[in-house]
Structure formats: structure tokens, C-alpha cells
């Protein structure tokens, strides 16, 4: 313990003595969240959808969940009755309303034919078309799922698959802010750790340290402790901006989020450690850490593009990226109020264990 603390204290001194890097580590996430947040928010406070659920059954809430799970649709407060629809449209509270009529689930169960009404604000024609498209795509997805459950077939005879291209900005700030937490954490943590370890290797201080009885595991733990703190500060800053500037809701529990965030930070640090075992110099470590985290997280984790609409191969790769699962968790928690993530938890813990064990194994191997 004494040894771990000695390493951690020393690492903290390095960080504090290099205010420029510290500023980058703290300021970069803030700049990113403000830029992204505003750019997207402007475009988009508009793709809001409200539900009028007259059925109030598990099936009807499942339908709501499916629709809102699309990255492009932001649910707003549910409407209690029909009379509120028009005033809501007039006040611009939502762009569309999905009305689930009474008896929806019963009809679905008995005849497999159950109408749902969609009302769209046509004042802005192009947005109306976009909303229409997204809602239809969401419903088509649900149909496919129901059909496969009922008939055991994966595909329907004819099926229109609409994809909207060239318009990735159609994501709302509510989706981007949690995504940024996932992106920034993995990037900063992997970057800082891999550079810190590569530097010690480069200057020979790692070897000097290892002539003492300190164990490699103690070195690793001591070195990453301060970066866990930096990661936590970054996450807190982004979430604070999201909450107070962009009104990102927190429908789940901060407590649960904190737990998963720490887990995710630790995995990200492990990734940094792993990268450092391949990199000979600080520069290589830096480039590898950026390339290895930024692009995959942006493109493959579901941050910008929904994983469900990816080609098969990319979808398989996305399953190997920790951010994919963390993203589902943080979005689920904040936007949907979901609290229970058995699959994602298992996936994260498994990925983390593999990454950390390989990293530690390679770290020890490289000492020779």
C-alpha cells in the first residue's frame, strides 16, 4: 500500500507540474461538449415526439420504447388526453404525436393487426418528412420483430428499408452528451496512461523503479489512480454542462451512473496500458491511443450511427468496443430511466477483464 501510494503521489506531482497537459485534459472535453452540443442542439430540438398512450399495457409501452430507442427521436413528456395535442403542437412542444389507441395490445394479440395513429406537425415540411421517416422505420423494425416472434420468419415478403443519409446531425444533444462522456473518457484515459507509461519506459525510470521491490501490479495501480480522478472530473464536467446547458435529463440514478463510469474509466485505463506495451515512444503511444479510441468510438460504438443499422462485419466489431456498452448504459440511464443492464454489465466486465489481463501480462513480458 505504501508503495502504491508512493507511485500515485509521484504521478500526481507529474500531472500538477505540467499544467498545460492538465489544462488539455480538462478543457478539451468541455470544448467538445459545448461545440457538439450547440451545433446539434440548434438543428434539433425539433425531432421531438410525444406519446398518447390510451392502451397502457406492457405491449404499448414496449412500442414506445422501441420508437424512442432510435437515436433520432427524443421523447418528451407523455400527453394525458387528446385535447392536449393541438395546444402542444401550437406551443412547439413536439413535432409529432404517436397515439396508441385503447385495445392496441388486445388487437395485436388476437388479429395481428393493430392500427396506431401518427400526427405530424406539417409546418416545416422537411422536418415533418424526416419525423415521418424515422417513425415509420421504427415501426417497421417492430413489425419485423413481431412477425418473427409470431411466424418464426426473419423477413417479410416485401419490406421497405429506408435509410436517411448525409444527415448525421439529426441526433439531439440529449444523445450526444452521454455519447461524449463515453468518447472523452476512453480517449483521455487511454491517452494519458499510455503516454505516462511510455515516458517512463523511454527515460529508463521504469527500469530504475523496478530494481526496487515494488511489484509491477503496484506500479500500474499507483500510476493509474490519479488518472481515475481526472477521468471522473471530466465525466462530471461534461455531465454538468449537459444538465445545466442542454437540459439533458437524468431519468435513472446518478449513483448507478457513477458506478458504471468508474468501471468504464478503469477499462479505458487498461486500454491505455495495453497500448503502451506496444508503443516504443511517447509519440507512438499518443498516436496509437488517439487512433485506437477516437475513430472506433465515434463510428462504431453507436455514438453517431446506430449499431443496429450497421453492416454485419462492422456490427461484430462494434461488439468488441467497450464504449458500445457504456453508451447503451449511460443513454438508457439518463434518457430512459432504465436501471438494469445485465447484458451490458456482463459484456463490459468481460471486455475489461480481457483487456486488463492482456495488458498486465504484456506489461510484465516487456520488462524483460
Amino acid at each position: 500500500m505504501r508503495r502504491i501510494l508512493a507511485v500515485a503521489r509521484k504521478e500526481t506531482r507529474h500531472i500538477l507540474r505540467d499544467p498545460r497537459s492538465l489544462a488539455v485534459a480538462i478543457a478539451m472535453p468541455l470544448i467538445m461538449v459545448v461545440l457538439y452540443g450547440y451545433a446539434i442542439d440548434m438543428e434539433l430540438k425539433r425531432l421531438t415526439v410525444a406519446f398518447l398512450d390510451l392502451d397502457r399495457t406492457p405491449a404499448s409501452s414496449e412500442l414506445q420504447m422501441e420508437i424512442t430507442s432510435s437515436n433520432f427521436i427524443t421523447p418528451v413528456q407523455a400527453i394525458p388526453n387528446r385535447s392536449e395535442i393541438e395546444s402542444g403542437f401550437r406551443r412547439g412542444m413536439f413535432r409529432a404525436v404517436v397515439v396508441i389507441p385503447e385495445g392496441y395490445s388486445e388487437k395485436l394479440a388476437t388479429s395481428l393487426e393493430s392500427p396506431v395513429q401518427i400526427l405530424i406537425d406539417g409546418a416545416d415540411g422537411s422536418t415533418a418528412a424526416v419525423v415521418d421517416n424515422y417513425l415509420n422505420a421504427a415501426i417497421a423494425r417492430i413489425n419485423r420483430k413481431l412477425a418473427s416472434e409470431a411466424f418464426g420468419v426473419e423477413t417479410l415478403p416485401i419490406e421497405a428499408r429506408t435509410r436517411i443519409l448525409f444527415n448525421p446531425q439529426l441526433i439531439s444533444a440529449h444523445f450526444v452528451v452521454p455519447g461524449l462522456v463515453a468518447l472523452v473518457l476512453v480517449m483521455i484515459c487511454a491517452l494519458l496512461t499510455s503516454i505516462a507509461i511510455a515516458r517512463e519506459r523511454e527515460t529508463g525510470t521504469l527500469e530504475q523503479m523496478l530494481t526496487s521491490p515494488v511489484a509491477p501490479a503496484q506500479v500500474i495501480v499507483g500510476k493509474v489512480l490519479p488518472y481515475i480522478v481526472i477521468g471522473a472530473i471530466d465525466a462530471a464536467l461534461i455531465l454538468a454542462v449537459g444538465r445545466f446547458v442542454f437540459d439533458v435529463p437524468m431519468n435513472g440514478s446518478w449513483f448507478v451512473l457513477a458506478g458504471y463510469t468508474i468501471l468504464y474509466i478503469i477499462i479505458s485505463l487498461g486500454l491505455g496500458l495495453l497500448i503502451s506495451t506496444f508503443a516504443k515512444t511517447q509519440q507512438v503511444a499518443m498516436i496509437a491511443a488517439l487512433m485506437g479510441t477516437l475513430l472506433p468510438t465515434l463510428i462504431l460504438s453507436g455514438f453517431l450511427f446506430a449499431t443496429s443499422s450497421m453492416p454485419f462485419m462492422l456490427r461484430q466489431i462494434s461488439k468488441l468496443i467497450p464504449a458500445t456498452y457504456y453508451l447503451r448504459i449511460i443513454r438508457g440511464l439518463m434518457l430512459k430511466g432504465q436501471l438494469w443492464f445485465p447484458f451490458e454489465t456482463v459484456a463490459l466486465v468481460t471486455l475489461g477483464t480481457v483487456i486488463l489481463s492482456v495488458a498486465i501480462f504484456r506489461f510484465k513480458e516487456r520488462l524483460d
Binding site: R2, R3, V7, R13, H14, E207
Partner: protein, 257 residues
């Protein structure tokens, strides 16, 4: 592995058939060596002879390809953790933290050696006084002249009062006066009962050692007390002896690298 224990117990370093290869290049080739406690042992050899590689094996930083060595009576293959508690190592390249104060560097190494806060303070006061570093305690390490950096490295390697010190070219690159002063410190350390295992390229320094070995291409080509070695090979100075045995010149000591 047949070495008996009573024999090895008054030996600080023993190497038996110690070998280390990198790929198909043999850096240390069947090294045989015995260094007694309390010696100042000069481990000489030309560039690339394998000195650093051998020391790194003694310190547990590198595994031998074959053979065995005992440090303070403990086999390096099994007891490297225990060995690490008993030795101090000063690497060939200055490897402390430039962005820390010199006191913080010493503090850190005290910490990884597992000393308590009190012990660390005590040792820093003691050592900095002895090594003439007290005034610079709060200086940034990067601002120290090389000679002082080397003293700091020695202080860090000795935080835990090791019984055995491995110094790999501790005086490389500094002027003769600084080297002389550093050697005074080495003598003091040896007088306190520690064994000093030191490499150098300066042949005047070799004269200060109680015994030396000269290494070439991973093998020891001469071993003994400097005066006897010179007599045996009929040379006037260590410089000439080195030239004769290794075929290249060591540093005479006057020149500064």
C-alpha cells in the same frame, strides 16, 4: 547449481555459467565471477562487452538465458524479490524524474522501497548532508548539473541502506574533479560495510578498485587486484593493460567524454 551455501555466504556476487542471448547474439557468455563482501569491484570492459547486461541480470531486470547467479547468497532465478530489497542500482543512463524536485525524487524511491515517512525524512537528511545536496533540496532535478544528478541517483539508490550497490558508469561524462569527489563517496560507502560493484570506462578509476575484471565479447579475460594484473601482463598502467587485453583504448581519465 552445485555451489554450497557456506561458501557463497561471504560472497556478495557469484556468477556461474551466466549467459544471456539477444536473438542469436550472445551478450554475456558463460560468465564466471566471485565478488566478496566489502569489495569495491571494478567491472571493466569495452563498449558492448556485456557489462550492463550482466548487471541487469544481477538486479533481476533481465532473466538469464542459461546459468545462474547468486546475489548476497540468493539465487537470482528464485529470489529476485528478496534480492531487490538488499541492493541499490544506479543505471548507466540518468533515470530519475527531471520534473520533480530532487527531494521528491528521493522521497519517491524511499516510498517504493517501502520505507515509512519518518525513515524517509531521516535518510534524506542524512544522505543529502553526506552527498552535499542539502542546499539544492528544493531544486528542480532538470536544473542540476550532471555531477549532482549522479549524486542524487546515488542517494536514491541508497535510500534503503543496501548492502550491495551496483553502479553502472556512475561518473560518465563529468569532469575529473567531480569524478574524484564521487569516488570519495564510493570509498565512504564501502567503509560503511557495503559492497560496491562498479563499471567504468576511466582507467584511472580502475586503479581505485580492490579488484577488477576485464570483459570482452561477453567473457571475462582478466580478473584480479589491479597491481597484480599489471605485473602479470607487464604493463605500467591499467590503460596499457586494457589496451593489450581488449584491443581498444579505455578512457585515460584526462579526457572528458
Amino acid at each position: 547449481m552445485t555451489l554450497n551455501h557456506s561458501h557463497s555466504s561471504n560472497l556478495a556476487v557469484v556468477a556461474k555459467d551466466l549467459t544471456r542471448c539477444f536473438g542469436n547474439f550472445t551478450a554475456v557468455d558463460n560468465l564466471q565471477l566471485e565478488v566478496s563482501r566489502g569489495e569495491i569491484f571494478g567491472f571493466l570492459g569495452a563498449n558492448g562487452a556485456g557489462k550492463t547486461t550482466a548487471i541487469r541480470m544481477f538486479c533481476g531486470l533481465l532473466k538469464p538465458t542459461s546459468g545462474e547467479a547468486w546475489v548476497d547468497g540468493l539465487p537470482i532465478s528464485r529470489d529476485s524479490e528478496k534480492i531487490k530489497r538488499r541492493i541499490g542500482y544506479m543505471s548507466q543512463r540518468f533515470s530519475l524524474y527531471d520534473d520533480l524536485l530532487i527531494e521528491e525524487n528521493a522521497n519517491f524511491f524511499g516510498g517504493v522501497y517501502g520505507l515509512s515517512k519518518k525513515e524517509i525524512e531521516l535518510r534524506i537528511a542524512e544522505q543529502f548532508e553526506r552527498l552535499g545536496l542539502t542546499k539544492q533540496k528544493r531544486t528542480l532535478t532538470s536544473e542540476l548539473p550532471l555531477g549532482f544528478k549522479q549524486r542524487l541517483a546515488l542517494a536514491c539508490a541508497m535510500m534503503h541502506r543496501p548492502r550491495l550497490l551496483f553502479l553502472d558508469e556512475p561518473t560518465g561524462g563529468v569532469d575529473p574533479i567531480a569524478r574524484r569527489e564521487f569516488w570519495d563517496l564510493i570509498y565512504e560507502t564501502a567503509e560503511d560495510g557495503a559492497t560496491v560493484f562498479v563499471t567504468t570506462h576511466y582507467m584511472d578509476e580502475a586503479e581505485y578498485c580492490s579488484r577488477v575484471s576485464i570483459m570482452k565479447d561477453g567473457k571475462i579475460v582478466a580478473l584480479g587486484v589491479p597491481a597484480e594484473l599489471k605485473r602479470k601482463h607487464g604493463t605500467q598502467t591499467m590503460e596499457d593493460l586494457f589496451l593489450k587485453l581488449v584491443g581498444v583504448s579505455g578512457e585515460s581519465g584526462e579526457s572528458v567524454e
